[in-house]
């Protein structure tokens, strides 16, 4: 459910960018989403398919790259991966310290879009 408002935001940004470069249609949207966002890629695509009909993004595909959760060790500063299914057991692999501060895993980024334009139209990247 929480994917819906986020998908609406993606739509707004994608359409604005695609229109600004004179795209005839959008074919693909590349996203980077941190694992802690608990996004279900199928849901994002489903909501996307619900929102986009009638727009230049109709029929386009969402590609999601999941970003691992990492933390910075509170003692030695080492950055290590956190297994989000097993947070309670995570600890610094270098010094064994239990606590850390989250570095990655909360990303919510539109990396880029693949668009289609007519060849005579100039695409300004």
């Amino acid at each position: 459910m929480h994917e819906l408002p986020i998908t609406k935001s993606i739509f707004k940004s994608v359409i604005a960018k695609a229109e600004s470069v004179g795209a005839k249609s959008v074919r693909m949207v590349a996203l980077e989403i941190g694992v802690l966002r608990d996004f279900i890629p199928e849901f994002v695509q489903k909501y996307w398919n619900y929102i986009t009909p009638g727009s230049i993004a109709e029929g386009s595909v969402i590609q999601i790259k999941e970003i691992d959760a990492t933390a910075s060790c509170g003692k030695c500063g080492t950055i290590y991966r956190i297994d989000t299914k097993n947070i309670q057991d995570s600890k610094c692999p270098e010094c064994g310290y239990d606590y850390g501060t989250l570095i990655t895993g909360r990303e919510l980024k539109i990396v880029g879009i693949e668009i289609e334009s007519c060849k005579e139209d100039k695409v300004d990247k």
Partner: protein, 224 residues
Amino acid sequence: MKDIAYIDLKQCILQDNEDIANEVRDLTKEKKFFLWNIMSSPGAGKTTFILDVISRLNGKYSIGVIEGDIESTIDAEKMHRLGVPTVQLRTGGDCHLDAAMIKKALENLPLEELDIVIVENIGNLVCPAEFDLGADLPSMLLSVPEGDDKAIKYPLMFSVCDALMVTKIDALGLFEFDFDALEKNTRKINDNLRIFPLSAKTGKGMEVFIEWLCKKINSKKETF
């Protein structure tokens, strides 16, 4: 003839919200008030906690409240009875408040007269964590009956907060709640989180929290 091109965006999905959250931050400096976002699951005791905080800060600070609810105005009516300027945001289904809603609500509060604006977010441990409101203090409540393992289940929420108020400690005898486990679980992802065990019902732990809160508020005031 068709041509395919890849365009870089490298843009935050919630850029609109981030921009408005920054506008809200600027407004808090311009109008000189402290914006405090309180999140939690439904039933953790946000309204009871806020009412107790207001009564404890009465005479010391002038307080306004933004009440977020999916439906109803029950909580806002409770605030009104205390004579606190309150704006009710009824989201009509949306499970979170965003920065645009806060900006709009702030337009309806007498900001020139207020020192603190408390936002009672929608009861939900998922979505509210995703939307920066421009608050000086993003915080959450976790009640004893919910259990000590919530940081493992909702890590995003625990990672975006600066303070965690563990409410309903008067009910500790009825539940298996391990503070050491809670601290261990939360510090795995947010070593800077301040944890305050308290009960708004009995008042236990409230003074310690209020003292810390006042320091936060005064340190912002000093920057004005």
